[in-house]
Amino acid sequence: MEIVLVGLNHRTAPVEVRERVSFNAEQAQRAAKELRARGILEETLVLSTCNRSEVYGVPPESSHECAPVLSTFLSEFHSVRSEILSVSLYHHYDREAVRHLFRVAAGLDSMLLGEAEILGQVREAYRFAHEQGATGPVLNRLFQGALEVGKRVRTETELGTRPMSVASAGVKLAERIFGKLGERKALVLGGGTISEQVISHLRDRGIAQLQVMNRSRERADQLAAEFGGIVVGWGEWDTALQSPDVVVASVSAEEPVLQRDVVARAMAARGNRALFLMDLGVPRNIDPSVGELYNVYVYNADDLTEIVQQNRNARESEIPQAQEIVGEHVSKFLSWQASVELVGLVDALRAKMREERATFIRSRMEHMKHLTETDRAQMEKLMDEMLEKLLLEPAQRLRGEKELRRKIQNVEALRDLFLSNREKP
């Protein structure tokens, strides 16, 4: 019951390699099917995101022997030369494979530390493989554990709570003022990539209404259509600033497009309702003195970048706590694995001993013709009892072993000493 993992990620492979080795749903299904059909793996799961492609499996034989076969399979499956792939692939076995997956689910192995999307991707990959019947008891337990780790890390630590991009930091700051944005309105000035990112974040946070203002009406129409917004004519400040709670400015302009008198007039018209202005333009789009107005909050790109940096540091400080959770669940999984293995091992040993006993009695009884059938049955029963007793005590001692490492070592020693590869459970 060993576990093997072969894969690559953003740290080991450049994007050109990652994109060639990624799996879509159909490919993941086909790969899992082939791996089991060829007898390379008994249970299998493919986890493929934009930053990683990993194959988890339970091999019929040793995981160390299986890993090179898996590498070759990946190379053939994606038609990538093995020399290219071999420098990017990593192999993990058993404890390390478990730890790796749990770190992935926790967001500790992500490009953006603590990102939330990976947990959903792990969940989806598991659901898909489970539906296809590609997983079994080991991978089911492993991935359920991984989902639990991801959930715990997100609720018990702050690894994923702080915004890590300028756009998301701005939107989160707006929530510090208004609370949930579900009933709020936003105005976006400009139609560039940054505006698009902010709009996307605002939509994710459930902004009620979105207005788009851009010099190019065509681009404004395009953005409004894409994100379900309303277009406001460029320069119609008095109308445009009356209703929004959040204003995002990211336009190319030499002079600030939002002057103090314009905002002051708007604030008077809107009854001093709080206004959050996100100035992402360089040079700045909003006159800095606007921030002196009552109930107006202005944040520029530098302010938001500084917040992102603070958040990055804060996330990093959460790593030890997240790792502690990962460690706790790795031990829990290995303990389960050892217990399951122990049951299988005891059963295999019992079967082997009975077989030996049967052969032994058969050969010896040939010379003891004077014994009746009852005597023979009695002898067999006595030998069975003795063998059971011999097996029971070490099994109980092993089951009661508190130290996980020792327990696993003993299980392995017992298996290696008494069972051949063919007989191993």
Binding site: T157, E158, R176, G271, A274, N295, D303
Partner: protein, 270 residues
């Protein structure tokens, strides 16, 4: 006298305070929930402590300074817990608990009361005092919330978004919580004051209706009503309303101290 309930109350409140502070610094939800649970347990233990003491002395809790302060602490905890549950926001617990703990402990450490007990009795008087104390507890809570609002608003305006700002309630929610609290206070003080006048009306002999305490209480009623109105209007919403709320609470404190001790003839504690 049995000290079990007061000790349990003190332990529960102190632990709750520690957990609320830890929740504020770590954001761990479980810690926050435990803080709320301990506050609830503290409230129950505090209730039994008050009940036991009242039963032992055959007096109402506000009979002396200890009882009045302890009842104030209990009502403050109760109002806060109701507000926390209503607004689903526990990150201000760490700021409110010190007031509750101080009032509870001060009640125990206060010197023996040498003032004569109140001359009046009866249900109307009991409700008058209890509702007035509840109102002051609610005003104290709105004061704390307004202070937090001003601090958070200042930090946000100065772009000093540190650890705590991410965990404090949003500004608009703080303003709403403060208004909810003032509303509880306003309703309580309005009914409490009316019952006070009913009590005075029933007393035999000559009683002045122009005691300094009556005037101050009516002034407070007006000031908090003005706050409640202005906080929802154009020019005052936000920091200005919070400043007014803090100013109003200063008048509450003056009403307790200067007015009670030097100007009023009919009020001792609240």
């Amino acid at each position: 006298m049995n000290h079990l309930f007061p000790i349990l109350t003190a332990i529960a409140y102190l632990l709750s305070f520690v957990l609320y502070v830890r929740f504020l610094s770590t954001g761990n939800r479980l810690t926050g929930r435990l803080g709320t649970l301990l506050l609830g347990l503290g409230l129950v233990a505090h209730y039994f402590a008050l009940l036991e003491r009242s039963a032992g002395l055959h007096q109402v809790p506000y009979h002396d300074l200890y009882g009045s302060m302890s009842l104030f602490g209990w009502l403050l905890a109760l109002t806060y817990l109701a507000l926390e549950v209503y607004h689903r926001q526990r990150s201000v617990g760490g700021f409110v608990l010190p007031f509750i703990v101080v009032f509870f402990l001060a009640a125990h450490l206060a010197p023996p009361d040498r003032l004569s007990p109140p001359a009046v009795h009866g249900p109307a008087f009991a409700f008058h005092v209890t509702l007035s104390i509840l109102a002051y507890a609610a005003f104290a809570l709105s004061f704390v919330l307004s202070l937090i609002f001003l601090a958070e608003e200042r930090l946000l305006r100065r772009h000093k978004v540190g650890e705590v700002v991410w965990r404090l309630p949003p500004l608009e929610l703080l303003a709403q919580m403060s208004q909810s609290s003032v509303l509880v206070g306003l309703v309580s003080i309005a009914i409490g004051t009316a019952l006070g006048f009913v009590t005075v009306d029933r007393l035999e002999g000559q009683h002045s209706y122009f005691d300094a305490k009556y005037v101050t209480t009516l002034l407070l009623l007006v000031l908090y009503a003005v706050y409640f109105f202005l906080a929802r209007t154009t020019a005052w919403r936000g920091a200005r309303a919070s400043r007014l709320c803090i100013f109003n609470f200063v008048i509450v404190v003056l009403s307790f101290t200067v007015v009670n001790l030097y100007l009023s003839h009919s009020h001792r504690y609240f």
